[in-house]
Symmetry: C2
Subunit: 350 residues, 2 copies
């Protein structure tokens, strides 16, 4: 199994090697070979090559069976021109060029951490929802334009575009995923205001007949943000467009109270990409403080989704759960009476 | 003081008369005269006149010193053409035509109801934040377009537009409001992706020098959705564009656990509009079940902001707090050991 490793910036170069150690342990135990190739991305790539997404990095990704990404960005590169910044210059083009149109972000509350949320325990205990965010369309990839106005001042204009095809492929994935879970799909839009949402809703609706076993409902995005706080357990799988998904997935991950635990997968192209949900956390970088679990669980998702190695994936997830049950914690999820570990020591335990 | 009353649909025609009773009590006690004129809006207007926002209703509003709106919409009108539906045919054009570019939505946790939230009490007790949403720009009022694609399927395109002027006027209001409160202003955008957000941030930044007493910060909208759940008390005043504001204000109101309590004001034109944050709740309409307090508090906002009647506004707010302290509740905020009242009886108590 060929894996491209993109550590990136901040804590990225600390957590990726930890996931690699877990993969090596899996390889030994189950007799699997992982061929790893590391490439530069983000600020690290800009510093080394002058561009945040070098062609060589894309080539390494395309030449792999899966990509494992750490995180990109940091204050050091915030004042570069937009197209050279880690986010707009690397992350977004990487998604687009690899054709990763669906971002899967599970929000799962680990039983050992049900009290870590700012929400009441009965509201979030047992939470297990999956948000699928469209990742290569909408405002993120629309036309962007700035003009001077005759009377002074400026005007910014950008476009939000979606096609039937773009909606249908991510909607199908939503139906498929719901089918493998609790068979409930909630499509989130703003069809009372947006034309793209009306198209979105029509396309999703038109596919429902092919998935009679899945219960489909539609919800406005403002209401969805409320419902995620009021009663998140009403949901199973949610699908939504890129910008709404950006907001709702971050909101949902915060419900769990432990964003350092949450993995994600981006699918759709020839090669899938896996990454922790959290960012590059420059403030704690290089201090052995970062929680490696989100990256380790991202590697588990890779084993399951890209390589079909279900036993191996489940073994990693069991190991993480056991370590948490045994009371080991990194700083971000520390609780009274538990044992605090650093990045490397947490990985040792797993 | 000339007030236009727009009851609208669902529970609207039940709660508006309750706010009127409170205004009458204020008028008697403080010797103020309120001249009330009622007009049709939403589904009710469509049913009576064939249009959800009759010209006569606009004239009544323009001829008043303030507008008090109930709520619009309901399943009965959901299948009309978009431009005839209560939301796109009445609410949005009303905002635009009256020039109401700023929507003020306070999220305040009433001390008597701090346990009503799904968030832990220590996270929300004492919460008092104000979100100011830009209300007449962005995707809501952009161009909307649908086209057939040569290879089959369709494409929807719409535009997100903002000008310096549009951003500056709502930003100024944010600075002014922060100045009267805890002097912290958070401007929410997605400047790492959107051109309109980059303009937004530049304009807000350019005004900061005029308000040296206000501490300005910027936050990405996805992070803001997280932070509102993680630690909402870090905020004082927030400003954001229309669509982000739609999502974040609903999220914030849910933090209080009692959306039936929350008023709002829309400002910017010659005449301001006040309305409860909640919707038309067709499921409980006509049963004396609706909580009238959000509408009563909207009337209090009107007394303060449009008429400068601070004592009168404070008296209404004190009355509401006292009634809650005495243990009176409508169904939506009912708690064990409290006394349940209907819409009319709750207003009697206030
Ligand atoms: C960094 C940013 C461009 C990115 C996004 O908005 O997609 C991030 O928030 C994410 O969710 O992966
Ligand atoms: C009904 C809808 C068009 C409206 C909006 O999106 O502005 C509502 O959600 C609101 O927040 O007032």
């Amino acid at each position: 199994y060929k894996i491209a490793l993109l550590p990136g910036d901040g804590i990225g170069p600390e957590i990726i090697p930890q996931a690699v150690r877990v993969l090596q342990a899996v390889g030994e135990k189950y007799n699997r070979q992982f061929a790893l190739q590391t490439a530069l991305i983000g600020g690290a790539a800009y510093d080394a090559t002058g561009h945040p997404l070098p062609e060589e990095t894309l080539a390494v990704c395309r030449n792999s069976d899966a990509v494992l990404l750490g995180a990109v960005g940091g204050p050091k590169w915030d004042n570069l021109a937009p197209e050279l910044r880690p986010e707009r210059g690397a992350l977004l083009p990487l998604r687009k060029k690899l054709g990763l149109y669906a971002n899967l972000r599970p929000a799962v509350v680990n039983p050992a951490l049900a009290t870590a949320s700012t929400l009441k325990e009965d509201i979030v205990a047992g939470l297990d929802i999956l948000i699928i965010r469209e990742l290569t369309g909408g405002l993120y990839f629309g036309q962007k334009h700035r003009q001077d106005l005759p009377g002074g001042g400026q005007k910014a204009v950008e476009t939000l575009e979606y096609t039937t095809h773009e909606v249908a492929r991510v909607a199908r994935l939503g139906f498929e995923m719901a089918r493998r879970r609790r068979k409930k799909l909630t499509s989130v839009d703003k069809a009372n205001v947006l034309e793209s949402s009306r198209l979105w809703r029509e396309v999703v609706e038109s596919l429902a007949g092919e998935y009679p076993d899945v219960e489909l409902s539609h919800m406005y995005v403002d209401n969805c943000a409320m419902q995620l706080v009021r009663n998140p357990k009403q949901f199973d799988v949610l699908i939504t467009e890129n910008m709404f998904g950006d907001i709702l997935t971050d909101l949902a991950s915060q419900l769990t109270g432990s964003i350092g635990m949450l993995p994600s997968a981006s699918l759709g192209g020839e090669v899938a990409l896996y990454e922790p949900i959290h960012g590059s956390a420059p403030d704690i970088a290089g201090q052995n403080l970062a929680n490696p679990i989100a990256t380790i669980l991202s590697a588990a998702m890779m084993l399951r989704i890209s390589f079909g190695l279900e036993d191996e994936a489940a073994a990693v997830e069991r190991a993480v759960n056991k370590v948490l049950q045994q009371g080991y914690r990194t700083g971000d999820i520390m609780q009274p009476g538990k044992t605090r570990l650093g990045t490397v020591e947490m990985t040792d335990a797993v």
